[in-house]
């Protein structure tokens, strides 16, 4: 093996092995070509057929004016924002609770909290569909005005997002110096003040990262949304699903491109926010 190596490549310099570099490059190409094709076709003139007919920006205003795509997009973003807000608050609170307290059956509690993360999405989706239908909540919420008709989806999204927030925040809390909390109490702050002025600022990077995670998870979700959406409600992934079934117009590509941009922005932001934390340890 050693004799096959190129001169100048040390035995441990795997990063400079040609075949590894080639594999890495090919994988990136395979991962990105479909996405770039999708984005490229959002600028295509002809509306169907998969043939390139020339550059245009028309699909973007068309997608904006297409009422059903617009509604689906607004629904998705509304759901993601409300989910993020609630999931972040309750996820952070329960993270603090689990970090701070010893209580009976704690391992069982933690396992139950981890269940929404590990069980197949489709199982959670059908369980919630069944629950909403049989309790009458589905009909109850669907009859409401926007945005309350999105409630079933939001409830479901919060259920699978908050455990992720809890994990992220809790891993941040592991590094917390408990003496800070004691010092705060010694100096006369009450429980509430200590929580807001010592613990929350410390958790902030974790909370923000958890919130962005919840936002992308919610925006990305198709399976659970598919099962928990009321008969009239359409979110963006569900909209694409039905449009792919019936034959697609490039307006969908345009809207998808916008969604991809939003997701990438949130992801990069989350990574940026988490990066300095690593070097701090």
């Amino acid at each position: 093996m050693a004799t096959q190596m190129k001169p100048g490549v040390g035995p441990l310099e795997y990063g400079r092995r040609r075949w590894l570099q080639a594999l890495f490059a090919v994988t990136l190409i395979v991962l990105y070509v479909p996405i770039f094709v999708l984005i490229a076709f959002s600028f295509n003139q002809q509306n169907r057929g998969g043939v390139w007919k020339g550059f245009t920006l028309e699909n973007y205003p068309k997608a904006w004016q297409n009422q059903s795509i617009y509604d689906a997009m607004v629904n998705s973003l509304t759901i993601a924002l409300v989910t993020t807000l609630i999931a972040t608050v309750i996820g952070t609170m329960v993270a603090v609770m689990m970090w701070r307290f010893r209580f009976p059956l704690k391992p069982a509690y933690e396992a139950a909290m981890g269940l929404p993360i590990v069980i197949p999405e489709i199982c959670m989706g059908v369980a919630l569909l069944l629950f909403f239908n049989s309790t009458g909540l589905m009909g109850f919420f669907s009859a409401m005005v926007w945005p309350f008709n999105l409630s079933t989806i939001i409830i479901a999204h919060i259920a699978f997002c908050f455990p992720f927030v809890a994990i992220v925040v809790r891993s941040r809390l592991v590094g917390f110096n408990k003496q800070l909390e004691e010092a705060s109490r010694d100096l006369g702050a009450n429980e509430w003040q200590t929580f807001w002025q010592v613990l929350v600022p410390y958790m902030k990077p974790g909370i923000i990262a958890g919130a962005l995670l919840a936002f992308t998870l919610s925006l990305d979700d198709f399976v659970i949304t598919f099962f928990t959406a009321g008969p009239e409600t359409v979110t963006f992934p569900v909209k694409i699903y039905s449009m792919v079934k019936t034959g697609v117009k490039y307006e969908v590509n345009a809207a998808s491109t916008i969604l991809i941009l939003i997701t990438i922005l949130a992801t990069v932001l989350a990574m940026k926010l988490q990066a300095p934390e690593k070097s701090g340890h």
Binding site: I35, L38, V94, F103, I240
Partner: protein
């Protein structure tokens, strides 16, 4: 850590919203799903009702999952998921390795590039893949252009390889991330020592690197295998009429076939499979000596 009794008010305030959500909107629905899986449709005045159920009537639905058709779909799901998972490992391991041995300033970017597609909506990615593989798409179209002079035609969409490729395409980042975090923390001096002591690259990999990174491998296998099991979108979009996975069957029971009790039983069999897989992971993780994956 404090005992919860020492500050009950803070304990309940912090814990109850999440606990409420978990119990009411997750555990209760699951429990109800379990009950329904042992139930059947009610028969009212000799008519089988659409929405009413006779609860806890027996294990009929589970007996029905033993139907040869359903068993073959289960086996196909397991087999395809296993193939996709192995393919992810074979591609993902060298890539995770390559990233770990890149110059340090390149590593975050390389990792970001691999992980970024995972954040893009699953449906958008499936749609993108379908477009490219389709008969008029970049890959499918080029293939047909090559085959045309020979009087042949190929349709990638609707074949088994298309579904498995789709699964790999979608879940590859799940494999690379845990592998990366394990290999990164692997003490490279072990590899150096092994090479110094005369082991070949292959022996070093097989006897040192592989055992030490086993926890990362196991985590990666789990993270890919479990979501593959429940997938219905990829097989629906990229597969043909004969390539249903168990997720498709469950979806149809809750949709067009409208047999929720049977769908519930199938969901629980799927969950049981998941739990068995997780148990195997737990067992392996506790009986190997490598670098932890998390």
């Amino acid at each position: 850590m404090e005992d919860w009794k020492r500050n009950g008010r803070a304990f309940w305030t912090l814990g109850s919203p999440a606990t409420f959500w978990l119990v009411v909107f997750f555990l209760a629905p699951l429990a109800y799903l379990l009950v329904l899986s042992f139930s059947s449709k009610a028969v009212i005045d000799g008519q089988v009702s659409v929405n009413d159920y006779a609860y806890l009537t027996g294990i009929d639905n589970y007996v029905r999952t033993l139907n040869p058709d359903i068993i073959s779909i289960f086996l196909r799901t397991l087999w395809w998921s296993a193939l996709a998972t192995i393919a992810c490992l074979l591609v993902g391991y060298p890539i995770a390795f390559a990233i770990c041995f890149m110059p340090e300033r390149w590593r975050p970017l390389a990792l970001l590039l691999i992980v970024l597609p995972f954040w893009i909506n699953l449906l958008i990615r499936t749609y993108a893949l379908k477009t490219v593989l389709g008969a008029r798409g970049l890959v499918g179209g080029s293939l047909n252009a090559i085959l045309e002079p020979f009087g042949m035609q190929a349709d990638i969409i609707g074949t088994t390889p298309a579904v498995i490729f789709g699964l790999v395409y979608v879940f590859l980042p799940f494999m690379i991330l845990p592998l990366y975090s394990t290999i990164e923390r692997l003490d490279k001096s072990y590899l150096e020592a092994s090479l110094d002591l005369g082991a070949s690259q292959f022996q070093t990999f097989y006897k040192v690197t592989l055992p030490l990174t086993m926890p990362g491998i196991v985590t990666g296998l789990i993270l890919v295998f479990i979501p593959c099991l429940g997938m219905f979108l990829i097989s629906d979009e990229l597969g043909g009429t004969t390539s249903w996975m168990i997720g498709n069957v469950i979806q149809s029971q809750f949709g067009s076939s409208n047999d929720w009790p049977f769908g519930s039983a199938l969901s629980f069999v799927l969950m049981l499979l998941t739990i068995i897989v997780l148990f195997i992971q737990w067992y392996v993780q506790n009986h190997s000596k490598g670098v932890g994956a998390q």
